[in-house]
Amino acid sequence: MTIVKLDPLPACGKRRTFLSGFTLSATAIALLAGNEKLGLVGSASAQTANNDVTILNSALGAEQQAIAAYQLGAESGLLQKPVKDLAVQFQGHHKAHADALAKAVAKLGGKPVVPMKDYHFPKEKLKSQNDVLTFAASLEKGAVSAYLGAVPILTDKDLAKAAASILGDEAMHWAVLRNALGQNPVPDAFVS
């Protein structure tokens, strides 16, 4: 009698091109990276410098929004001294990110986006220090995800590295804010 040993991966593998990135389990991360590359083959438009400008400009828009949000927080009168100092420091990081991104966009021949006049933040819902920190944490978490969504599709490796470096900084902000809120600062082994 013969025992047929089946490895599930080859069976799935044949379909990988149209089922790209099926699962996010830890063991699939490497696969996912491979799938992503497959998915981009043949899509020349996804690989142009033009796209790099688009990606950097979206990130720049998110940074400008974060700067405005920390401004609102700092001026709200809701933050106690040490927390307010932290907010101002984080805002400084976002300003540095925005400067770097704007320069990179210009270098690629693009036009850096300008900040919006009004972000329509939910001011009426920000009534305590915790409200402000929760809101800031949601923007930082979003920023981590936005950069995670930028790193694999930036054509220029140096730009991808810069984006990853910013991602790390924003993840630190997110963790510190969660800690200040009494939440588990690092809830997962992977960010998403």
């Binding site: 047929v4 069976a11 688009t54 936005a146």
Partner: protein
């Protein structure tokens, strides 16, 4: 035998996921990935999401869309959203949503289930 087993494994691990199978609670968590640029109620870096289902792409007032999104022409529903969110830059070449997308079909289904609920919730969206 080998074929049958391979088929079963394929079914178990590779069955397509439909938006109808989405879990809105998990989707709310996935929506945190969008919040650097989007809010339900207000235009931010990206357009507001309230009223998304049944709306034409690129049609929120007072939001500066890319030319590509303005002429994309679809109406947002489960299918069109699934396709866009999987790979925005490929689905709408020239869009200014610079984001790789959500690659996992189950995560997209969850996200879309959440969006369907939240974007028509009268407590959030007026």
């Amino acid at each position: 035998m080998r074929l049958l087993a391979a088929f079963l494994v394929g079914l178990l691990t590779c069955a397509p996921v439909l938006a109808a199978d989405g879990n809105a609670e998990r989707g709310e968590e996935i929506y945190t990935r969008c919040k650097a640029c989007h809010a339900l109620e207000q235009n931010r870096v990206g357009p507001r999401h309230c009223g998304l289902f049944g709306r034409k792409a690129g049609s929120v007032p007072n939001y500066q869309y890319s030319a590509a999104m303005k002429k994309y022409g679809v109406t947002w529903n489960e299918e069109t959203l699934d396709k866009f969110i999987e790979n925005p830059l490929k689905t709408v070449p020239g869009t200014k949503m610079g984001y790789a997308g959500v690659k996992d079909p189950q995560e997209r289904a969850d996200l879309i289930a959440y969006l369907k609920k939240a974007t028509s919730d009268p407590k959030i969206c007026d």
